[in-house]
């Protein structure tokens, strides 16, 4: 690694992305926006307030976070795997002064950036649904980026292990979809029975969803430091493991 060498890889991905902007944005934002509409507006109209928020308000911050997760994780699975195998982009890059560390950081930071962009667009769209975030929401941005780092590193770990595209079905069905459903986006985790609650709070997305709700509405009811530290630690470990596994795959 050599300072910000990985930036060249970020720029390369950005250059390609610019050509397919519309398709990727619709792909990444379609699902969370439709969920917000169907669950928040459709289902939520007739529901009692949850933790003092309308159901639409309750699920909105979590759906912002889910947009980050989907966008980051899909970029470093399907996207990175294509660059690794079909397009041989990594091979081409490793013939230059850039090394595996640059490659891994470039891909992960790129995935996190794409994730954060999806999250920001969701946030900007919230007022259309009548959800007005508090000024504290500014501090949500670094949290979204951190979550993007975790999920793009997680995706890259899967890419380093994948034998074909079908392998990612395990990842989406067994990791991403359960996280989407059980990380407190759609129901409050705090009121669950203690063993279930403890389990769900260990999931990597749960603290991010809580932080998003806290910062979105400026309601600081629960401790946040542990959530932030835990998320940092998880992201750090995932980045390290992605680097280790991708190096093992690329350098024989």
């Amino acid at each position: 690694m050599n300072g910000f060498s990985f930036w060249a890889i970020w720029l390369r991905n950005g250059r390609v992305w610019k050509k397919n902007i519309l398709a990727t944005l619709i792909g990444n934002l379609g699902q969370p926006l439709l969920f917000l509409l169907a669950m928040g507006y459709g289902l939520g109209r007739d529901m009692a307030a949850v933790e003092g928020l309308s159901y639409l308000q309750f699920i909105a911050p979590g759906l912002v976070v889910s947009a980050v997760m989907y966008s980051a994780a899909l970029e470093t699975t399907y996207g990175s795997y294509t660059r690794l195998t079909v397009q041989k982009t990594y091979e081409a890059i490793l013939m230059t002064p850039l090394g595996v560390v640059d490659l891994v950081l470039g891909e992960i930071v790129w995935g996190a950036s794409k994730g954060m962009l999806a999250g920001v667009i969701m946030l900007v769209a919230l007022p259309l649904f009548g959800v007005i975030p508090s000024p504290w929401v500014v501090f949500l941005l670094p949290v979204l980026f951190l979550s993007g780092m975790f999920f793009s590193a997680f995706g890259l770990i899967m890419t380093a292990l994948a034998k074909n595209y079908d392998f990612f079905n395990y990842f989406t069905s067994l990791v991403i979809t359960p996280l989407f459903l059980f990380s407190g986006i759609f129901f409050p985790v705090r009121t669950m029975a203690p063993p279930v609650r403890n389990l769900l709070e260990m999931l990597p997305l749960t603290p991010i969803v809580s932080l998003a709700r806290i910062l979105c509405y400026g309601r600081f009811g629960e401790p946040i430091l542990l959530k932030i530290l835990g998320s940092f630690l998880a992201a750090g470990c995932a980045v390290w493991l992605a680097g280790y596994l991708l190096r093992r795959r690329l350098i024989q």
């Binding site: 060498s5 250059r15 390609v16 081409a92 230059t96 002064p97």
Partner: protein, 326 residues
């Protein structure tokens, strides 16, 4: 600095490249690679003198690609020493790779980007300042006859144009060592000739090259030295024409005929210093001296051919005729 301008410099560099004691750009000693029990590269030593093109030959699975990948740090060596530009590899791989250009066997261009964007993106990996990169991209587009395709997406390029772009991309950092892995694979004769012509210009400019190819006419044309690998070991190393004369002979007769006819011919050819080889209903005669006096004997054969001995004969002789399939 235009490519035509660089040629003038090349004249003064020729003296260096002709000097047998000149500093080697690549020097490899005792290089070995094991994958578990399997030894893929077995104690190889060689050197590439500055300004020369060395042809790296061998059947599939001989260890050529593994060897090249060890030079580039893409495969970790099990033993041995690699020095490139007098720097130890892979320890200084970043510094080394900044001065190397690679034309890979498999197309690794960015399919979503245009011709020009591919070059600019690659320049970014070498941290070449934008202003300098812009100039080099212009030069390379001209040099490889891609100027009017600069905005084309890679998908729309022909095989020859893609190969030329891969070569242009490999030159974006003005490399002192160019590694060419099957640079003209799958191309039509026109496209191959254009690439050979450009490579010859680069050679005249003093670029050191390592060339692997299964097209032995290409290797004979471009390389001053060849190195034949088989089963992970160097079988032979030297100047191609000298090796052909020493190990194969001066000319080759290829004769078709029935077993009885060929038996009779074999007897006649014993009068001349030659090595004989029977493959099916074909007789190969590798003559070490002028065997013109035997031509009248051949007049009776169904069909025959007389040609100079070439690198392909040497290759087959040293590595055998059996197929190598992984």
């Amino acid at each position: 600095m235009g490519y035509s301008g660089v040629m003038i410099q090349a004249v003064s560099q020729t003296s260096i490249s002709d000097d047998p004691n000149g500093q080697a750009v690549v020097s490899v000693t005792g290089l070995t690679k094991r994958f578990g029990e399997r030894v893929v590269v077995d104690n190889i030593s060689f050197a590439i003198p500055r300004g020369q093109c060395v042809g790296f030959l061998g059947p599939n699975g001989a260890g050529k690609t593994t060897c090249i990948n060890m030079l580039l740090g893409l495969v970790e060596k099990s033993a041995g020493e690699i020095r490139i530009f007098d720097l130890e590899a892979p320890r200084f791989h970043r510094e080394i790779k900044a001065r190397i250009g690679v034309v890979p066997q498999a197309d690794s261009l960015d399919p979503d980007l245009s011709v020009e964007e591919n070059l600019r993106t690659y320049a970014g990996y070498f941290r070449i300042p934008r202003r300098i990169a812009r100039g080099r991209v212009e030069e390379l587009l001209h040099f490889f006859a891609l100027y009017n395709r600069r905005d084309e997406i890679i998908e729309h390029l022909s095989g020859g144009q893609r190969r030329r772009l891969l070569l242009a991309r490999a030159l974006i950092n003005e490399p002192q060592l160019l590694i060419l892995d099957e640079p003209t694979i799958g191309l039509d004769p026109q496209a191959r000739h254009l690439i050979w012509e450009r490579l010859a210009i680069l050679q005249a400019q003093g670029t050191t090259m390592l060339l692997t190819s299964h097209y032995l006419d290409e290797v004979a044309r471009l390389s001053r030295q060849v190195l034949i690998l088989d089963h992970g070991q160097v079988v032979v190393q030297g100047e191609p024409q000298q090796l052909i004369t020493d190990l194969v002979g001066v000319e080759v007769f290829e004769v078709d005929g029935t077993a009885a006819e060929l038996d009779a011919l074999e007897a006649s050819f014993k009068q001349c210093s030659a090595t004989l080889e029977r493959v099916g209903d074909k007789l190969y005669v590798y003559a070490r001296e002028d065997c013109s006096r035997l031509v009248k004997v051949l007049g009776e054969a169904r069909s025959w051919l007389r040609r100079p001995a070439n690198l392909e004969d040497l290759f087959i002789q040293l590595t055998g005729r059996s197929l190598r399939e992984a």
